[in-house]
């Protein structure tokens, strides 16, 4: 099995220290986290972690189960890039003079849909959002025009066939045993593993 990019979506209680509990499950297996973002979810009080790693399906599945084993983790999903819609945001600081002088820069920024956030005499700050490869390309291109500063956010992702977490939460709040599926290949229900 070969490694590929997986995006994990982890719903958790909003508790101090939960990020540590999550992070060590990756570091103990010596898995590098390419990107990690934490944010509120559609439900107040429930946090959503979006984590990007390069791994085999087998390992990512085991990690997802060990994530769910944590007392304050409600659910962990993992998806390939085909199964999600994702974005990253970036900010670029470029000398204003260069932009004014060189038409190619303006064209470049238009091409990548970058918008001006701050315009000053000495520098201009642009922002753009998209897939990391596109942002990387723009960054490389801008380096030739005196890119002063660059920052890119972690990935945020929406799972295409997710119905959201409201229904799931009701199940969690009921004081009954879980009906969550933990399937395996034998029963031919792989598609339901960690999908909503």
């Amino acid at each position: 099995m070969s490694k590929q990019e997986y995006t994990l979506t982890v719903y958790t209680e909003n508790r101090i220290g939960i990020i540590g509990r999550i992070a060590i499950l990756f570091s103990r297996r010596k898995i590098n986290i390419d990107s990690l973002s934490t944010s509120p979810s559609e439900i107040e009080g429930i946090h959503r972690f979006t984590i990007v790693i390069q791994e085999t399906e087998e390992v990512v599945r085991k990690v997802a189960r060990q994530l769910e084993k944590q007392v304050e983790v409600l659910k962990a999903y993992y998806n390939t890039n085909e199964e999600i819609i994702w974005q990253e945001q970036a900010l670029f600081k470029v000398p204003t003079a260069t932009i004014a002088e060189k038409a190619s820069v303006e064209r470049l920024l238009r091409q990548y849909g970058a918008r001006v956030v701050v315009l000053r005499n000495d520098y201009t700050v642009f922002e753009t959002a998209g897939h990391s490869e596109d942002i990387d390309k723009l960054t490389t291109a801008l380096t030739d025009y005196g890119l002063i500063e660059f920052v890119r956010s972690a990935r945020i992702a929406i799972i295409k066939n997710s119905e959201g977490f409201h229904k799931k939460l009701k199940e969690f709040e009921a004081e009954e045993p879980s009906e969550e599926l933990v399937e395996n290949e034998f029963l031919g229900k792989r598609d339901k593993v960690f999908t909503m």
Binding site: R15, G17, R21, V71, E72, N184, F186, L187
Partner: protein
């Protein structure tokens, strides 16, 4: 929002209507929680940051039995021993800083062996957190990888709910260690106490999975079709209190059953379908036949590498049915054909109902045939040595004759542990206390102390090597002061025997720092007011063991055994279970 706070906010509100609050301190709230959870024994060691709790404890002396250990590591192992023999949650008190860091080994041991313990640590005042204050360590982050759950309390009002969660999490689902770190200000703080409400539900935590009938049916159909089915079981049977359900399952199915070290004693040693121990130093037949069976039924065990040997050559021919309460164990090491996720107390009777009553006599006979080979090659000489010097196995054999399998056997880690597990006789469950997953040398003595408090009505025999005893020998002081009637049986081979065995077999006998010298253990025990003797002659063995058992109080018996005896059979690391060697 913080979940503990949520519980705190709702519980008093309901209680407020009917109750008038009493003003108590955070420390009292901790002790009230222990009483409400029916805790009678606490293992601990005081220090600056936990002084308010110890001050409150002064007034609870008639209700709580506090055992002062000699090192905090000992408190965790004692709590483990207590939990293993009693089936109750073990409780530990320790102070901040070094007190708390000394708990780490015991927490790791309890985590990997799924032992329910709750550790309460003191912490510096909340306003000093993060300032490198005296005896401040980041206990929560240090213990995160080795706890099932941990939580820091900085406000006394959180204590009742945090304690309730701690006990609920420690003992429910797959049990494990929990640590609650309480800052000193919270221990001192007075607050309105509305009583203690046990925790029954945490929305993000579901310890009891729903049993799905389709899987039970699938498993039953595989078992009914099987010609050479084989049951392997672990501690899950004991933790699930499912010994009876397990026995009914194997008796109806007629399937031979072998145990992991942690599952030992869940099924009586002399049960006709008990075919012995799995793994590296397990019995010959169950290891070899793992790779011949057609359906492998794993119950409450996790396919540890010491059990499976080389994974890509492990039971490849078999369909695997895996019963486990922890979904993260399914497919982790061995792919399950049918996963039966659930508490085996519930799943086993469902499975038993669907299987046909059968008798796998000829298949069981295969185990007995291979067993004969093992007896001839290994067991005969180990239990009845022709050498002048005693063997570990013959000591256990004579012990069996005297206890008839009714004692609790606590072991440390190493050769003596494997020999004790292989040869000790057990009639009832919760009788074998050992450090399985972590292999913690030094576990034996403190665990035996805890085991005695868990079941003071039983004979507690701590079998320990000369190396392991020296790791926690200070706990003899705990025995001296509080009177646990632990029988300490040292099997002294004057070596760190297991490592020596490996160096002999795999490193060309290059004995590198395995030659360990020991003090006069009997003299040391005497210094602690513990009676004992040392023997090195076979003729003395039976009388010496009988004296030890008959002694009213703790006793130390040191038996000198063969220096370079090896434990066999052995599945060498990197070998398949079928390649188990008899010599």
């Amino acid at each position: 929002m913080n979940t503990v706070e949520t519980a705190k906010a709702t519980a008093p509100k309901e209680a407020e209507k009917t109750m008038t609050p009493t003003q108590i301190s955070g420390s009292q709230a901790v002790l009230e929680a222990l009483l409400a959870e029916h805790v009678s024994t606490v293992f601990g060691y005081p220090g600056g940051a936990i002084m308010p709790i110890y001050d409150a404890l002064y007034d609870y002396n008639d209700k709580l039995n506090h055992i002062l250990v000699r090192h905090e590591q000992g408190s965790t192992h004692a709590a483990q021993g207590y939990a293993r023999t009693s089936g109750q949650v073990g409780v530990v008190f320790a102070t901040s800083g070094p007190g708390a860091t000394n708990l780490v080994t015991g927490l790791a041991d309890a985590q990997i062996d799924s032992t329910p313990i709750v550790c309460i640590t003191g912490q510096v005042f909340a306003h000093l957190l993060g300032t490198d204050a005296f005896q401040e360590t980041d206990v929560i982050n240090i213990t995160t990888p080795v706890t099932k759950w941990n939580y820091q309390v900085t406000d006394a009002t959180e204590i009742p709910a945090a304690m309730a969660k701690a006990f609920y999490i420690a003992r429910s689902g797959r049990p494990g260690p929990v640590l609650i770190d309480i800052t000193k200000n919270a221990q001192i703080q007075l607050f309105d106490y509305y009583g203690y409400t046990p925790c029954k539900h945490i929305r993000s935590y579901r310890p009891k999975p729903l049993v799905r009938p389709s899987y039970i049916e699938e498993a039953a159909s595989l078992i009914n079709k099987a010609q050479k089915p084989f049951v392997i079981f672990g501690q899950g049977v004991i933790l699930g209190k499912a010994e009876q359900e397990f026995k009914e399952f194997i008796e109806k199915s007629g399937i031979p059953a072998a145990w992991t070290v942690m599952g030992l004693s869940a099924l009586a040693t002399d049960h006709p379908q008990n075919v012995g121990m799995l793994g590296m130093h397990g019995n010959y037949a169950p290891n070899v036949l793992t790779n011949e069976c057609d359906v492998l039924i794993a119950i409450g065990m996790r396919f540890d590498d010491r059990v499976t040997g080389r994974l890509d050559k492990y039971a490849k021919q078999a369909k695997v049915i895996h019963l486990d309460i922890d979904p993260a164990e399914i497919d982790k090491n061995v792919k399950a054909t049918v996963p039966v996720w659930g508490d085996c107390k519930e799943t086993l009777p469902l499975l038993t109902a669907l299987i046909e009553k059968r008798n796998h006599a000829s298949w069981l006979e295969r185990f007995r045939e291979l067993e004969k080979e093992e007896v001839k090659e290994v067991i005969q000489e180990e239990l009845n040595p022709t050498s002048e010097i005693m063997s570990m196995g013959e000591v256990i054999k004579v012990l069996n004759e005297l206890t008839d399998g009714n004692a609790v056997i606590v072991t440390d880690v190493g050769q003596h542990q494997m020999v004790a597990c292989r040869y000790a006789k057990f009639n009832q469950s919760k009788s074998n206390v050992t450090s399985g997953g972590l292999g913690t040398m030094g576990f034996g003595l403190p665990a035996a102390i805890g085991a005695w408090y868990g079941r003071p009505d039983r004979d507690i025999i701590a079998i320990i090597g000369d190396g392991g005893l020296q790791m926690t020998i200070q706990e003899l002081g705990t025995i001296m002061q509080f009177g646990a009637k632990v029988k300490i049986l040292i099997l002294n081979n004057q070596f760190l025997g297991m490592v020596r065995q490996w160096q002999q077999l795999f490193n060309d006998k290059r004995y590198s720092f395995v030659n360990i010298t020991s003090p006069d253990f009997v003299m040391v025990a005497k210094g602690y007011n513990i009676d004992g003797q040392r023997i090195d002659q076979r003729e003395q063995l039976k009388d010496a063991l009988a004296t030890m058992l008959a002694h009213d109080g703790a006793y130390l018996l040191e038996v000198m055994v063969g220096k370079e005896n090896n434990v066999f059979p052995m599945v060498a690391q990197g070998s398949s279970v079928a390649e188990i060697r008899l010599k």
